[in-house]
Structure formats: C-alpha cells, structure tokens
C-alpha cells in the first residue's frame, strides 16, 4: 500500500516540477507573432502586386499560413511555388493561371513627355518608387521598381510602359551548358550532327 502512495507522491512531485519548468519556458521563450508567416513572407518576391488577390505579399503569406493555395504568385513563378512547397511540406503544383502567368522581370517606364503630373501613379506605387509632384513630370526609380504593374492602370493618359529589364554586363548570367544525355551510341548521334552543322 505504502509503495503505491510513494509512487503517486513521486509522480505528483515530478509532474509539478515539470509543470513549473514548462510554464516558465512558455513565458520565457514565448514566440511573438507567427514565425511561419515570416518564413513564407521571406520566400515571396515582395513585388506587392496584388495578383494573388491580397493587398501585398504579407497578407498572402498570412493567407497561405491559413491554408490558402500556394500557386497564386505569378512574379515568384514556379521557383517560389517549389520553395513554398518545400517549406510547408506539401506537393508542388503548377502556377494558377487565373492569377496571371510567369513573365520576364519588368520595370515601369514613364514616357515623360506625355505625363501630366496627376500623381495617381505615385499613390498607386506600393514601394514609393515613383518620384514627382502635382502638375510636374513623374519618373520611376528603376532600382526600386518591383515591376508590379499597379501604376499602369491608374494613369489617365496611359503614359506608363512596363519594359523588360535589359541585360547588361552587370546582370548578365552565364548560360546553362548544353545538357548531354548521350548514354548510348544512338543517343549521341544526333548531338554530334548538331555540333558538326
């Protein structure tokens, strides 16, 4: 009988001790905010374009954390979807074409002669990449532009173009070497011909 009492006592004491430790840890090491949202947000391209249907990348990150589909981000493209799939341990899916298609990186360009200085694009820009004042010509800070497209629609005179970023010696990338899968002689044949021609 006494052994049972001792066992119960010991277990109770242990439970209390661990309870105190856990309680302390819960207070001391409390994580503010939702870390998964931060992690998702870090993977999103931060164009703040709203093509996913959310007013910015962070709201979409919150949406994904709440169980929304991960394939609604055209600027991020398949790369971002794959990264999100890896992070969230879900299957990667192709981009949902309803929200747009993957495109080359673009920046906004204001045809300055046609700009009437209405400031509408300035208000639309999510990253403050447009400079200008009322009734004065506006211009885009190319380095800050995320290519989100949001300034094009509000322009009353349609003087904003989205231009693909030109390749120069600074952003040029080494091309991928040709893949060769000539494991057997017959595989190799067309490749050699291609080289010879």
């Amino acid at each position: 009988m006494s052994s049972i009492v001792i066992a119960i006592l010991v277990l109770t004491v242990l439970a209390l001790i661990f309870g105190v430790i856990l309680g302390f840890a819960a207070v001391r090491f409390k994580v503010d905010g939702d870390p998964i949202v931060d992690q998702i947000d870090a993977l999103l391209p931060q164009t703040q374009c709203g093509q996913c249907g959310h007013p910015g990348c962070r709201p979409y990150a919150e949406g994904i954390a709440a169980g929304e589909a991960i394939n609604k981000c055209p600027p991020g493209g398949q790369t971002t979807i794959d990264q999100l799939a890896e992070l969230l341990n879900v299957d990667s899916v192709p981009l949902d074409s309803e929200h747009g298609v993957e495109d080359v990186r673009k920046v906004a360009y204001i045809r300055e002669d046609e700009c009437i200085g209405c400031t509408k694009c300035i208000q639309a820009c999510p990253v403050d990449a447009i400079l200008g004042a009322a009734k004065l010509m506006h211009t885009v800070i190319v380095d800050e532009c995320t290519g989100c497209d949001l300034c094009v629609e509000p322009c009353p005179v349609d003087c904003i173009d989205m231009l693909p970023v030109a390749t120069n010696t600074l952003n040029w990338k080494w091309p991928e070497p040709p893949q060769t899968n000539n494991l057997i002689a017959t595989d190799r044949q067309p490749h050699l011909e291609e080289n010879a021609s």
């Binding site: 999510p126 990253v127 800050e144 091309p175």
Partner: protein, 690 residues
C-alpha cells in the same frame, strides 16, 4: 626558402617560348581608342569629359564611383568623339559604356610630376594611387588602393608579389621582369611603405630563368628586403590562394580574404604601374599584352595603350590572313573566346591568343560523367568537382553552395583532366551566376519589403494625423456654433419679431379656444364655468400683453408693423429648403458612415446636425398645419386625400390599359375623369401650403 605545396594542379603544355623570343615592342598609337568605363572590379567609373572635349595624355576622363572603383585616364592626347555603348572585353559579348577618344598623334602629356611618397601622409598617398587608376593587373582588376588601405583590424605580416604567371601562352609578366626588374622593385618599395609587412616574398615559377636572373641582378643593386622564391612550374600556382599556400604553407579559410590572415598579394605588373604612377606621376594608361598563337607570324609582347582595339595588336604581330580560328582573350585555361577583334585592351588584358583550328579545336561533345574522380585529384581548391557538376546540372544550387562552390577559382584544371570532356567550369560559372542572381533577387525583395512596410507605416501615421486634425476642426466648429447660439439667445429678447409674433398668435389662439369652450359650457349649463371664465380672463390679459409687446416693438421697427398686418401666407420656400437640407444631411451622414476611416466625432456632429435640420423641418411643417387650420383646412388630412386620389388615378389608368372590353373602358374613363378632377381640386387646395 622552403616551398610548400598545394593540392592538385596540372601541367598543360606551356607554349610560352613563342612570345618570349622578341623584346617588348611599342605599338603605334591607334587612330581611335575605346575606353570602357568598367575595367576593374566594383562600380563603373563615371565619365567627367563630354563629347568634343580635347584631352591630353594622362588626363582624368572618368572618376571612381564608390569605394571599390578606379579612375580612368586618356591614354593619349586627342578629342573625345563619343561616350556610348561599344563591345567590351566581357564574357557576355555585350556592349557597355565606353569613352571613345580620337588620337591627334601628338601624344601630348598633361602636366605631371613624381610624388615623394615617403614625405606625404599615408592617406594622401592612397588617394594618389586611387587617382592614378591603379587596379590589379594580374587578371581580376581589383582596385589597388583598397588593397593597400586596409583597416586597422588587418595587420599585414606578409606581402607576396605574384610573378608566377602560371597560365600557358602568357608571358607579359615574364617580359616585364626581364626588362623592368628595377622598376618592379621600386613599386614593391611603395607597397612596403604602405603596408609595412614583416617580410616580403616574390614567388616566381622556375620556367622563367631570364626573369629570375634579371630580378636577382636588380636585387643585388637595390636596397630592398625581399626574398625571391622560385616555385616549381605547376598550373595554377599563380592563383592567389595557391601562391599563398606555396610560399607560406597557410591556407586562406573558405569565405575569407588573404588580408584576414595577414597576407596581401600584389601582381608584378601592378607594382611596376605603381612605380610609374608615384615616381613618375604617370597614371595607368598602358600595359604589356602578349599576342601569340599559331595564327600570328611574329608572336610577342607589346606595350599597348589601354583602349587599343585587338585588331591593331593582331596586325602588329602579323596575323596570317584566314588562319585565325578563334580569338581568345586571356590564357587558354581561364580566358574567354571573343567574337570580334574590335574589342579594346583594358587594364586586365594580359594576353591575346589567335589560335588556328588545329591549335584550339572545338571541344569534343561531352560524355556522361563516369565518376572517375580525376577532377577531384586535379582541383587546387580541394573541392569535389564532380559533385558540384551534378548539383549544377540538376539545378540544386543550394547544395552546390553548401559544397563550397564559391571557393572554386574557375581555373579549369578539372575540365582539363576530365576524360569525358565535360565543360565543368561552364557548369560552375552557370551555377555561380544563378546563385548570385538569386541572392540579388532576395536582397531586392527584402529591400522592397522594407520600402513597402515603411510606406504602410507612413500611410497609417498620416491617417491618424488626419483624423486628429479633423477632430480638432470639429471641436472648433462645435465651439463656434455654441458661441453663435449663445449670442443669438442673448439678442433674441431684443430684436426677434418672429418670436414676439408667434407669442401673440399663440396667445390669441389659446384665448379663442378658451372662449369657445366657455361658450359651450354656458350653452349647456355645465359646471366649472367660473374657472373657465377665470382662464379666459387670464388668457385675454396674456393676449393683450403679447399684442402690446408686439405693438411696442413694431413701433420702433416701422416696417415690422406692416408685415404684421399682412394676411398670413404660408412660408413656401422655407419648407422646401428645409426638406432639402434634411435630405442633404442624411446623405452626408450615410457617406461619413460608409467611409473607410470612420470618424466618430464627425458622425456625431453630422447626426446632431441632421437632428436639428429634421427638427426645423418638422417645426415648419407643424406651423403650416396650424396655419391651414386657421383657414379651416386640415392639412394632414388633405395630404392623405391627395395621395389617395393620386393612387386612385394611377389605378384607373392601369385598369384602362389592361382591360379589353370597350364598354368597361368607357366607364373606367369616366371614373378617371372624376378622379382626376377630384385630384386637381385637392391639389389646388393644398398648393398655397406647399
């Protein structure tokens, strides 16, 4: 001196003899010089001349931008004819900004004098070196002033002068040492003055006996603390990290720079350029370029002005027409093939190889990797080349990065030994640029997020400020209104005719009512006549008093008495205006409530104003009803009748349009007539009161 070793390395055919036979020749001044603004690592220089300017030899034509950058100088006197995009020596084959100078053939120097580097401040000397545009001439083109101006956290114990020149074909440094050994030593003295190393080593491969002899002769004459270390010939012993390992036995840790372990490496060419810049005041405007390959008749080395097109060099070395299969810029291991010979020489151009087809045939088609491991044996950075290859091929860049891809110096030893002739270096370059692009993208994304969040915070702050301002305005308006009310109240007793008139009218009506009641009571002989009589008397008194007050007021205001006597006409415009006011207030309130940034105080004030307006409307309406009563018309009833008449009219009209029977239609039409007549009558009755 003990020579250590480094892992891997290869022994490709040297092919150096062809270009060392002749002494260094001077190239004639070309007609036009094309000077790219980016000739070094870091940011491109910013042009300070404009088209049409005449420039003198040695004049600064572009200033450095940022810390890691170098200035540019006119290599000869002439006129700036263009600042535009031109083909530049870059692996991409793309065009980039260049300053084009048309030479006038005078080769007229700008004023320049030597600097006594021992007599000036160290920072001043570093500034001078920066202004002279000195950048590493070994290959990477790192701005020399940055390397010579390390922070106090870097104490340099060893200075290494790189004279290894390990890559086949290239002999530019070799010839420089043969012919200008003493100048190199002078340059090294300047570096020693700046870095104050405890010892200085000069590493040179044993395949340059002439250079070694020349250096030894110069060393015997010069007063300099320098150890000449002859290292065995092995590619890539001239790699910065490999040479450090060869001479000191220390390996530069991954991700660190040599300065982190107290070592600075400078090329011999850089040392000579430093000597010219400081002891002669001549900026970096020329360099020795090796022109070799089987496609040129007389291979050799040339003192070449920066900006000289490759074609000039090739013709100076007597290019065999039609023999050139490939033009390679740099050595055969690390150089890149270029498409056009209009590309100019820059600070880092050490060699041009005009190769025939038999000399540099097309690379054979790549075979599958058989995991033989020869690349690992050859890798001087002790990496796992085939593993990196698989990762790059499978686009697993993260893994490649974790396998220290960025420690790869792209020397090409692995590809050289690969039995499957896989272009390994191309894979590494591809993977590196993909990773760099991704990192840049990530940095940009972080930057965009920062800006987005900053903007959100700003908008929020502005909204709060706006709300506060609005609140303050509303409070002010309320205060002003209260003051106005107070004022009007205090003045009401004196000059409000309307109030007096109403008072008099009310008194009269009350009196009338009481009199009627009294009469009724008297007729029917009811009780309480006395009290009624008393009330009537009292009311009479009050009515008289009110009338008197009005009279006395009218006496002072002569016009007022006239309006008083006028027939009571309904306040027509008043009612409509009031009604409008009420509806306006209601819409305003609705709008305010529907707005995104609901402002409680504003809504409150709007509500109050709506209340007021509707009260005013109701009061006016009541007054009208009262007025109509005096004319024996029940306005409310009249309005209801009118509405009913209207409904009746529309009903009959609808019935007429629906019915098919003609007789029925006739009767209905008759009904309609009567209904319409009734409606018009009612309307005319109501008209004066609306």
């Amino acid at each position: 001196m003990k020579v250590f070793g480094f892992h891997g390395g290869i022994h490709p055919p040297e092919n150096k003899k062809q270009s060392t036979r002749a002494s260094v020749r001077h190239l004639p001044i070309p007609k036009a010089l094309v000077i790219p603004t980016q000739q070094h690592l870091g940011l491109a220089a910013d042009p300070v001349v404009s088209v049409g300017d005449r420039v003198l030899k040695g004049q600064t034509i572009a200033e450095p931008v940022g810390r890691i950058s170098a200035s540019l100088h006119a290599p000869t006197s002439g006129t700036v004819t263009a600042i535009e995009a031109q083909p530049v020596p870059h692996a991409s084959g793309l065009d980039a900004e260049c300053i084009v100078i048309e030479s006038d053939g005078l080769d007229q120097w700008i004023d320049h004098q030597p600097i006594d580097y021992k007599g000036i401040e160290r920072t001043e000397l570093v500034k001078q070196i920066r202004q002279m545009g000195i950048a590493g001439m070994g290959g990477a083109g790192f701005p020399t002033d940055v390397k010579l101006n390390l922070g106090s956290d870097h104490i340099v114990t060893t200075l290494i002068i790189n004279a290894a020149e390990c890559e086949p074909y290239i002999t530019a440094d070799d010839k420089l040492m043969c012919e200008h050994a003493s100048e190199i030593l002078e340059g090294i003295k300047i570096i020693q003055h700046l870095l104050e190393p405890t010892h200085t080593l000069l590493g040179i491969e044993d395949n340059k006996p002439n250079a070694i002899r020349a250096l030894n002769e110069a060393l015997a004459e010069a007063d300099i603390d320098l150890d000449l270390v002859v290292v065995p010939t092995k590619y890539p012993s001239g790699g910065e990290r490999q040479l450090i390992q060869l001479l000191t036995g220390v390996e530069v840790p991954s991700g660190k720079i040599p300065a982190d372990i107290g070592i600075v490496v400078q090329n011999v060419g850089t040392a000579q350029a430093l000597h010219r810049a400081i002891n002669h005041g001549e900026p970096l405007i020329q360099r020795i370029v090796t022109v070799t390959g089987e496609a040129v008749e007389h291979p050799g080395n040339f003192w070449t002005l920066l900006g000289t097109p490759f074609s000039d060099l090739l013709s100076a070395a007597d290019l065999k027409p039609g023999a050139m299969h490939r033009l390679v810029m740099g050595g055969p291991m690390m150089g890149v093939a270029v498409e056009t010979d209009s590309i100019p020489v820059i600070k880092t151009t050490n060699c041009l190889i005009a190769a025939t087809e038999s000399e540099m045939p097309e690379a054979p088609a790549a075979q599958p990797c058989i995991r033989c491991g020869m690349c690992e044996q050859a890798c001087p950075a002790q990496l796992l080349p085939q593993q990196l290859y698989w990762f790059a091929k499978g686009k697993e860049f993260e893994k490649a990065k974790n396998h220290n891809l960025f420690d790869c110096i792209e020397c090409g030893a692995c590809a050289y030994v690969c039995p499957s002739s896989i272009p390994l270096v191309q894979f590494y370059r591809y993977a590196k640029s993909e990773i760099r692009a991704e990192e840049l993208e990530q940095r940009k994304a972080d930057h965009a997020r920062e800006r987005f969040e900053a903007r959100q915070a700003r908008l929020e702050r502005e909204a709060i400020e706006k709300a506060e301002r609005r609140k303050a305005r509303a409070a002010e308006a309320a205060k002003a209104q209260a003051e106005r009310k107070k004022q009007s109240e205090s003045s009401a007793g004196k000059d409000d005719t309307a109030a007096l008139k109403t008072a008099a009218a009310v008194a009269r009506t009350k009196l009338k009512k009481a009199e009627v009641a009294l009469k009724n009571a008297q007729d029917k002989g009811l009780e309480g006549i006395d009290t009624l009589q008393a009330t009537v008397d009292k009311l009479k008194q009050a009515a008289v008093e009110a009338e008197q007050a009005l009279q006395s007021y009218s006496a002072t205001e002569t016009t007022a008495s006239k309006t008083d006597k006028r027939e009571p006409t309904p306040a027509k415009p008043d009612l409509k205006a009031l009604k409008q006011q009420v509806s306006i207030m209601r819409t305003k309130l609705k709008k305010a409530e529907a707005a995104d940034d609901v402002d409680e105080s504003e809504i409150e004030s709007l509500k109050a104003r709506l209340e007021e307006a509707s009260q005013a409307y109701a009061d006016a309406d009541n007054a009208l009803i009262e007025l109509a009563k005096t004319a024996g018309i029940d306005l409310k009833q009249l309005r209801i009748d009118l509405a009913m008449a209207k409904v009746a009219v529309t009903k009959i009209e609808r019935a007429i349009s629906k019915s098919d029977d003609e007789t029925e239609q006739e009767t209905l039409k008759a009904d309609l007539e009567t209904a319409k007549a009734y409606f018009t009558r009612l309307e005319s009755q109501l008209k004066p009161y609306e």
